[in-house]
């Protein structure tokens, strides 16, 4: 296995390479940007139509009151978790291979949360009254209902979004200073100057920076877990069969990390190509993420089985009914596709040769993401179609093109935000790659010296 990164890479070169990504990406960048814009336009069109007509155009009905919007909401929230995984958990564990890739993962966290927030809005019947859900003192003397898991959700997502944005920003300050020092004209200079806050890399700054980064990372980990547990709580707190499951919170968290990791692989491949980051986003690092993803895939699969088993051996006939319906009912193709994508496809990541094969891993990561999207859908819809009350079972509901359009559009929105970010801000953390290179070269020097000593000693 090769090295995660070339140790002899010059620090100045790192600056140069990364700063280049702010200037001249490949043409593919613009193509993807344009496509994303168009796709986002589709979503906007659908929302405008739905806003004017009413939610009915989404083909939702009673009892099937939620559909792809909520499924997509969970999907995007879930995707956000791997950013935290890479930046916070691996940071605490001193896994320095995360350094070249954590920045974009963290950006992904922020933007997928922003995308998820969109779905909260488009899902509402009266989005123009969305401010009723905000806890602010008002002349109506009415506060939101703090007992509602949806409100916890809103609070958790808000906390997570703002914390991860802050985390992203704080971690970026030294890099912004680099940008400030190297880009000398235009609006960018002003932006970087303001955002860099006058960072100079003094010992005092670094000292406080280190402690802050560590502390926030410590906060982010339980936060991330709580966010997806609370999203799981939206379902697990209800009485509906198939949702009222004790293992839902860990199951959701595992699913979140899983889809996030899969998304990181996809974006890794794309960024590596578009911004010519071959030196930094190296195959050995890919290999590490792939292995991590595989491990999480197995955790997810295990939790899936636990859920099925606990439903199967319970005396909750309704929950059992939902499970059976998932397997043989109208959603069966999607459910089996989810099982296939989520639990079978990851075994492709066990093949050593494929672990560093970019096209294969790209395809696998897309399949995993598809599987995770289906998973969320399969959590939401089958329960509605086959709930507690037999008279209102509803096997014919199918999301309308409006729903699909908005799901589609959300990918455009995410891609748009993400690409703009990568073009404006360094998507590889320069200072941390320097640290990585520095420490690794020191390490190998020491090793070499140790070897020499050993040789000497032997002599």
């Amino acid at each position: 296995m090769g090295k995660d990164i070339r140790e002899d890479i010059a620090w100045a070169q790192i600056n140069k390479d990364v700063l280049k990504s702010l200037e001249s990406p490949r043409k593919a960048y613009w193509v993807i940007l344009l496509v994303a814009l168009l796709v986002f336009g589709v979503g906007v069109g659908c929302e405008v139509y739905q806003y004017n007509m009413g939610m009915g155009v989404a083909n939702l009905d009673n009892p099937h009151v939620w559909g792809l919007y909520i499924a997509s909401f969970i999907f995007w929230i879930g995707m956000s978790h791997s950013g935290t995984l890479l930046s916070a958990i691996l940071h605490l564990m001193h896994a320095d291979w995360r350094k070249p890739i954590y920045r974009f993962a963290e950006a992904m966290t922020t933007f997928s949360l922003l995308t998820a927030a969109l779905f909260v809005a488009v899902h509402l019947g009266r989005v123009w009254q969305i401010y009723y859900a905000l806890p602010y003192p008002n002349e109506r003397w009415a506060w939101p209902n703090f007992q509602s898991p949806l409100l916890w959700d809103a609070m958790a997502v808000f906390t997570y979004l703002s914390s991860s944005m802050i985390f992203l920003y704080v971690g970026m300050i030294p890099d912004l200073a680099i940008c400030r020092d190297n880009i000398h004209q235009g609006w960018r200079k002003k932006v970087y100057t303001i955002l860099a806050l006058g960072w100079e890399g003094t010992d005092r700054q670094w000292r406080n920076f280190r402690m802050t980064y560590l502390t926030v990372a410590c906060f982010l980990i339980p936060l991330a877990v709580s966010v997806h547990s609370i999203v799981a709580g939206d379902f697990a707190m209800s009485q509906q069969p198939g949702w009222h499951v004790t293992s839902f919170p860990p199951y959701f968290v595992a699913g979140a990390l899983y889809s996030g990791c899969a998304a990181i692989i996809s974006l890794f491949v794309i960024l590596r190509y578009v911004f010519r980051f071959e030196e930094y986003m190296t195959l050995p690092i890919l290999k590490k993420i792939v292995r991590l993803t595989f491990a999480i895939a197995m955790v997810w699969t295990y939790l899936n089985c636990i859920e099925f088993a606990s439903v199967w051996y319970s005396h909750d006939e309704a929950a059992k009914g939902v499970l059976i319906q998932k397997a043989i009912g109208p959603y069966a193709p999607f459910w089996w596709a989810m099982i296939f994508c989520g639990s079978v496809v990851p075994f492709a990541m066990m093949v050593k040769k494929w672990q560093t094969n970019i096209p294969i891993m790209f395809a696998v990561s897309l399949l995993l993401n598809l599987g995770m999207f289906l998973e969320r859908w399969m959590i939401v819809s089958p329960t509605f179609s086959h709930g507690i009350y037999p008279w209102t079972f509803d096997h014919d509901q199918w999301p309308s093109m409006v729903q699909w359009g908005m799901v589609f559009g959300s990918f455009g929105w995410f891609t748009l935000l993400f690409l703009v970010f990568c073009k404006v801000f360094p998507s590889v953390s320069m200072y941390e790659v320097k640290e990585m290179v520095y420490h690794r070269s020191l390490q190998s020097k020491k090793e070499a010296a140790g070897e020499e000593l050993a040789v000497k000693g032997a002599n």
Partner: protein
């Protein structure tokens, strides 16, 4: 904000419904000696749909038309369900069908109430589950969490939808309650507009609400008189007597009588085991097997 308020409310409201004591004696606006409840005799119900149509007439329910009905977007607050007897070989028709009028059960511990993010659905002092239309933002969580699926969402803006209330059909709309616009949830209110009038009249006359002061629209229409409605806290009321006779207690999730084998009573509440404490008691349909 006052600390004393906080502490007071903490203890005062710790346990509200369902409890043994009647409502909240301290409730400022309405001293609550009323708990509206229903009893529906399935043996009398013929499944004729009169209640449902009466509900349309009384509560300004939109007729959504075939296409929207096919999407499951019908707005019948009161629906009649038709079940067959089941056996190994399929449906049995020898004893006819079973009809079940199903509307909001006005649960005492309603699953819908706690989950609404904006507090648009709350418990009222007279024991109903109320929906505040102009507070509702349409998250539909209440419906998602309703075990009976008796909450209906305004998927479209029905007042402006073609052929829902074309002029002069709109002149029939009942001015006692609103016509709901798109994006809000609605459901059976136990004809709140009628109970409200009854309570006000009683108040004006300086007496408590008596049995028979108010009928719900469905009850009023029901040709077989299968629906009994009234104040459960009034021991004189028919509905209270029925509940009492059938030994169905509002505050129990498992009735004592069900623990004894071979009780000869037929009152039950649907999905009681989920502990929503519904306010509607059904009486089992009786069939004679002599023929």
């Amino acid at each position: 904000m006052s600390v004393s308020n906080l502490l007071e409310n903490w203890s005062k409201f710790r346990h509200t419904h369902p409890v043994e004591d009647k409502g909240h004696p301290d409730w400022e606006a309405y001293p609550s000696d009323i708990k509206w409840a229903m009893a529906i005799d399935l043996d009398a119900c013929t499944g004729c749909n009169a209640c449902s149509v009466a509900c349309y007439a009384e509560n300004n329910l939109p007729v959504v038309g075939k296409e929207k009905y096919s999407h499951g977007q019908a707005m019948h607050w009161m629906r009649i369900e038709r079940y067959w007897d089941e056996s190994e070989s399929g449906f049995e028709v020898d004893q006819g069908a079973r009809f079940l009028p199903m509307m909001c059960q006005q649960c005492e511990a309603a699953p819908c109430e706690t989950v609404c993010p904006v507090g648009a659905t709350n418990h009222t002092e007279d024991g109903l589950n109320s929906q505040i239309y102009n507070r509702c933002i349409g998250s539909r969580y209440c419906s998602a969490n309703c075990p009976y699926k008796v909450r209906y969402f305004n998927w479209y803006d029905y007042p402006t939808t073609k052929d829902v209330w074309p002029s002069p059909m709109n002149e029939q709309l009942n001015p006692d309650l609103s016509v709901r616009s798109k994006g809000v949830m609605e459901k059976c209110t136990f004809c709140k507009q009628r109970t409200y009038v009854a309570r006000n009249n009683a108040k004006t006359e300086g007496r408590p609400v008596q049995d028979g002061d108010v009928q719900t629209a469905c009850q009023e229409a029901c040709p077989a008189g299968a629906i009994t409605f009234g104040n459960l806290y009034d021991p004189e009321s028919k509905v209270a007597q029925k509940w009492q006779h059938q030994q169905v207690e509002l505050t129990k999730e498992k009735q004592d009588k069900d623990k004894t084998e071979g009780n000869r009573l037929r009152g039950y509440r649907i999905l009681e085991e989920l502990r929503p404490y519904p306010s509607v008691m059904y009486l089992e349909r009786v069939r004679e097997s002599a023929v």
